[in-house]
Assembly symmetry: C2
Homo-oligomer: 231 residues x 2
């Protein structure tokens, strides 16, 4: 039965999209088992679309497939996190460089807008919450995308996006500690400033430091919480 959602989107594609978001956002914790029947019921469809979605997410690395034993959300480990961070710094540095070199007026203006929006959005709606406001998450993501958007290689930008998604799965795990005081807004400002001034080495240095600082806190939280095995 090709039961169309009227939008042309198939069940498999829809489930893939929703599952993907749940995994990236951390709503589905790393390492947890993904039972086909349960997901089918949850998303109001059958086993086939769910299996297609899971297969596709497995190819992407968000899900692990164990032949004959089903699927589970890809587990996270401290080692994988360190490795991911290193790869991210290398790639983001490269992509930022090429973006600055290739960026024209359109890129500059989009970056200015993204920076402005980020500066105007409070990080936490409720200051007592440990979790960032979804609206801030969005503009923050858009800011980082705007920085590298002019890199003339969709392949590299796609790889960046993949790494970003993988990294975001670690955030939920690390919610156990309050982050030390740190002026993230000023870091973003400085990066944007250097990028707009076309100061390649300075911008790259600041960006990498920005990532490593964030990662440093995350690392502490991960080590403390011991919630990394996902088992």
């Amino acid at each position: 039965m090709a039961r169309p959602s009227r939008t042309g989107e198939t069940d498999a594609t829809r489930v893939r999209r929703l599952l993907r978001a749940s995994l990236i956002e951390g709503e589905i914790p790393p390492g947890s088992k993904l039972r086909v029947q349960a997901l089918a019921t949850q998303y109001g469809t059958g086993a086939s679309p769910v299996r297609e979605a899971l297969s596709s997410l497995a190819a992407e690395g968000l899900v692990e497939r164990l032949d004959q034993r089903g699927f589970r959300a890809a587990p996270v480990t401290l080692g994988a996190f360190e490795e991911l961070l290193r790869a991210r710094c290398w790639v983001e540095e490269l992509v930022l460089r090429e973006s600055i070199l290739a960026g024209g007026q359109q890129w500059e203006e989009a970056l200015v807008v993204a920076r402005y929006r980020l500066s105007r959005t409070p990080r936490r709606a409720d200051p007592s919450s440990l979790r960032d406001d979804p609206a801030w998450d969005r503009v923050h993501l858009e800011f980082h995308r705007a920085l590298t958007a002019a890199c003339p290689s969709p392949t590299m930008l796609g790889f960046c996006e993949t790494l970003r998604e993988r990294a975001s799965r670690y955030r939920g795990v690390a919610l156990t500690v309050a982050y030390p005081t740190r002026d993230v807004a000023a870091e973003h400002e400085a990066i944007a400033e250097a990028a707009l001034a076309r100061q390649v080495p300075e911008a790259c240095r600041l960006l990498v430091e920005h990532y490593q600082r964030t990662a440093g806190y995350l690392r502490l939280a991960l080590e403390g919480s011991q919630s990394l095995t996902g088992c």
Copy 2:
């Protein structure tokens, strides 16, 4: 019916593996339609495993999914080729650098072996053939892997592998012209020499030139053959 291949490999996984090889090798030409029923018959299984395999290859970029219109082998275009080449040069340069910096004795020795094997394998068994000998393809692949193997980032190495696979899909399209005389063996020798001598800039320069030279011929062939649309 969980009909196991006794090896623990599921039908979906097996079909994925075989399809993947066919796509990379160029046996299935880019752009061609992939009909689920036909593939199911060909691989002696049902629609579900085939759809899972296709979904997973779509996530990887080897297959394109058009909702409600099935799957097709990802098409190739001259523009995508140029872009791929650029991304490849950037990433391979980075990975080679880190490999040289991190490589120990084991890496050196494996590289020496790979270089030796490549030097002893004739590129074409039958000199009249335009196609490279599969045995040469293998040792050539292993040589390039050995160069970068010591890079301490599985993520980056995996990305290299993905780009390599995408690139190899272009070779089959470009079989219409004979390559001009060129001493590929000497190029490989020089790269290995520089890498073993830990001359990072020199090795990277030679590797990138190696890719761009190969790509140059491929580009000519692609422009000439006009077989790029895949339609």
